[in-house]
Subunit: 493 residues, 2 copies
């Protein structure tokens, strides 16, 4: 029977065996740099496999750079050996300042053994995995253009149509030329900032706000002004005063469930915000990324304003997949037209047909809605349970959110959250200390917890130890003996 | 037999039938906004399908926004009907200036019936489609984290290891912390520009150069200086003079096969460029996107320089898939460290594990290399054949490239390529006129042709007509009667 007719798994095993044999020869110096490898026919006979298996194995070793093909003369051991793989390759550095990047990188680069109550997403197995797997199988049978072409400049029309349907459920009318797909929600905001801001402009954000807004706006070299966030939205009096005093160009906020507080913007606050924005010709970016976590829809700025001065952005990273990245911008059609050009200039377009097709496929199947219902139930339970456990450690939620996965909490008296977060790394515990969310740096006593990442019983134990050690080191410092290097006072980013 | 046990294709058909029935009721006004839909059990009986099929159909209609679920009370016709889909939705505007965006958007948004000798990519069926399909099937069985998590801040380590292997084949040593994955090659350059440039800086590009470099650098508000490109690379004398006179911060170029000319940088020119760059502390971005199209590797700036002042970028959009987008930056480790932060701030990371996994899977299988060999053979034949046909129309290649899919050609005397490109749109023919590639706007007599997109016999016929009409309209204008509105003189972008 021809080798190619074997089940692919057996063929895989044979290919691996040939690759291992070559690697062993390299390790034992039986083959050195520049040496010619055995011919395909000879090595196939030696290994008792078909020549096609050896070809496949040599091709893969060539792709890894261990060997190289010379046309018409066979395969040779590569002269430039790969540098050894540093074991600590991607591990985040622990000695950097506790700033917004610190949280991002600790979260992204934590090993699989880390516990991450500070991270901003759900565990992978909470996502609609079965629906994703189904869509990957469907894609394996999709047309060539879906698999290999760029797609249109605004992004997949079927996905934009689905977004229009979701907006229509809020009573928000939007046409397909008011929508632009972007590679992520963050890139949606970034593109808007490039379009509307110039260095030196002033931008309002909530205090506290999603920490990466601070990093993003810093990259745009703008002045940040924070507006204290209350239980029903930003403090409108301070917001109005800031508009008069600072003449900001933009206000960026989350509607639905606010990050990090989990609070809900009230209809009354939303209405007053928009009136103030109109009076001062302020543009508002509404980041709606947590919308699907709400039990019932709350007030939305875009729904009230109808895209006159509100730009809605969103993505599916929190509810569908953060690996298949896809975000969107909904705005005035003339702005979208300009944003299309800007996205071509800076990225040659947004997400390709594969990412857009995956998202559209999952959204339009029933699995997404069912998974969201289940997620909301699980999160409601997790919020209660985690809040109770945090209280046992003296950590008190600022409010109980209606939905989502965040609890914004006050630490026990005297605890500095950056210090606690830093010391927690010794236990492989990634935390999100309050000041990374705060423009005014007034949230050192707070910390954001992701209740979906607190299920492991080791989390509360490690958190308890970190609180203690944090306290000890404060006391040590108070006595003039730092237990570990001072946290950098920070670039105040 | 339970409905769920049916083959999925029959289940799909039934779900579609239920959806069609509901749509028909909406179209005939049997159901109007706010009406309750038949209960699931009742409609299942009416349609002769299982309740689960009706649930699936209702869920999909809800996802499309046609109906909405109210918890505990069934499904209702959505009150906000979708606006009608504009037929001309994504069609590019023909009345805009013939600038770099014009080519991008005509190419991206052309309908399937368009002929696109001006576009910058290969037809989808030239790509390694079978390998892509295999990787999609493999992904449908991948771990949850691959399908749903963000992945690491620098991007998939296996893909970076594969890149290290490819670099090693050039004798170019690079460690994994010198590599950052980006969502596309364009975004790689954009990130570097954000990192190194400030508004008002000067940047050198080739004249002609890839048109989107001009659009990208315009977005960075820098001054562009073009260096005439010769058959063996940029004119070194003018390059050196520009370094002294303009003190540019950056030079951005293609190595391997230059876009749009298809010319090859000679080792001698590369060496002199790098010496001049060293003398003036200039950083060089080497866009290596066409490397795999070369029959034999030519001189590379990064290979000579070793990442001291050269930054290598690349992507797989031209050879693997433009739908699965993934690019990379190879540079000094300390720069990469800063670029990681910048990519978090502006995009919350690069390509997710899905895109990186697809690219790594295709690259490490043998199919990619085989497909590239076949592509190179096909392209060599196509270059010869298309060059011969163009010559019949009086269109003369500037040189015959060693590889790739571009021919940079001089049009017959008196033809203005922007005018020809504009008039060609009447025949649904998308062309790439010379001046979009030229900082000095001195390439009006030139045009770039993609030989892989010239296989359709209608291309040469339509091109012939466009040349004639372009000539006629010039003569008409010369007599003071424009045959169509004057092309906007352009923002000189």
């Amino acid at each position: 029977m021809a080798d190619t007719a074997l089940p692919s798994r057996r063929k895989e095993t044979r290919t691996d065996a040939v690759m291992q044999a070559v690697r062993a020869k390299l390790a034992s110096r039986a083959l050195a740099a520049g040496d010619r490898l055995p011919s395909i026919r000879r090595f196939a006979a030696t290994m008792g496999v078909s020549p096609s298996t050896v070809v496949e194995a040599y091709d893969r070793l060539a792709a890894e750079g261990l060997i190289r093909a010379r046309r018409g003369s066979g395969f040779y051991v590569a002269s430039a050996a790969l540098p050894p793989l540093a074991l600590a390759d991607d591990r985040p550095r622990r000695d950097r300042a506790v700033d917004p990047f610190w949280v991002s990188r600790q979260s992204l680069d934590a090993g699989p053994e880390a516990l991450k109550p500070g991270c901003g997403w759900l565990p992978a197995d909470w996502m609609p995995i079965a629906a994703l797997r189904r869509e990957f199988r469907a894609l394996s049978r999709a047309g060539d253009a879906v698999l290999a072409d760029y797609g249109s400049a605004r992004g997949s029309l079927p996905l934009r149509r689905l977004l229009m349907g979701r907006f229509a459920e809020e009573g928000l009318e939007v046409s397909s030329d008011q929508l632009l797909l972007t590679p992520s929600g963050t890139q949606a905001i970034d593109l808007i900032c490039r379009f509307l801001l110039r260095p030196g402009d002033t931008v309002l954000v909530d205090d506290p706000c999603y920490f990466n807004f601070r990093a993003l706006l810093r990259a745009h070299q703008v002045k940040l002004v924070g507006v204290p966030y209350r239980a029903s939205g930003p403090d409108v009096g301070i917001f109005e005063a800031a508009l008069s005093a600072e003449r900001p160009r933009l206000y960026i906020t989350n509607s639905a469930l606010h990050n990090p507080t989990g609070a809900t913007l009230s209809a009354h606050t939303a209405h007053r915000l928009l009136n103030a924005a109109a009076a001062h010709d302020l543009t508002v970016v509404e980041d709606d990324i947590f919308a699907d976590f709400e039990p019932e829809a709350s007030a939305r700025l875009a729904a009230l304003d109808g895209f006159e001065r509100v730009i809605r952005i969103g993505s599916f990273s929190k509810t569908l997949s953060a690996s298949v990245r896809c975000g969107y911008i909904a705005a005035r059609a003339d702005w979208i037209e300009d944003l299309v050009d800007l996205q071509i200039a800076t990225g040659f377009g947004g997400p390709g047909p594969v990412a857009a097709g995956l998202v559209a496929g999952v959204l339009s199947g029933g699995g997404y809605r069912k998974n969201m219902e289940e997620m909301r139930r699980r999160l409601a339970r997790a919020r209660r349970e985690v809040a109770a456990k945090l209280r046992e450690l003296g950590i008190e939620p600022w409010l109980m959110p209606r939905g989502g996965f965040y609890l914004w909490c006050r630490l026990p008296d005297g605890c500095d959250s950056a210090e606690v977060a830093r010391t927690a790394l010794a236990d492989n515990l990634v935390l999100a200390p309050g000041d990374v969310f705060s423009v005014s740096q007034s949230a050192a006593a707070f910390m954001r917890f992701n209740v979906a990442q607190c299920g492991d019983p080791r989390v509360m134990a490690a958190l308890g130890r970190a609180l203690e050690r944090g306290g000890e080191s404060r006391r040590a410092r108070a006595r003039g003996k730092a237990a570990f290097p001072d946290p950098t006072p920070g670039d105040n980013l």
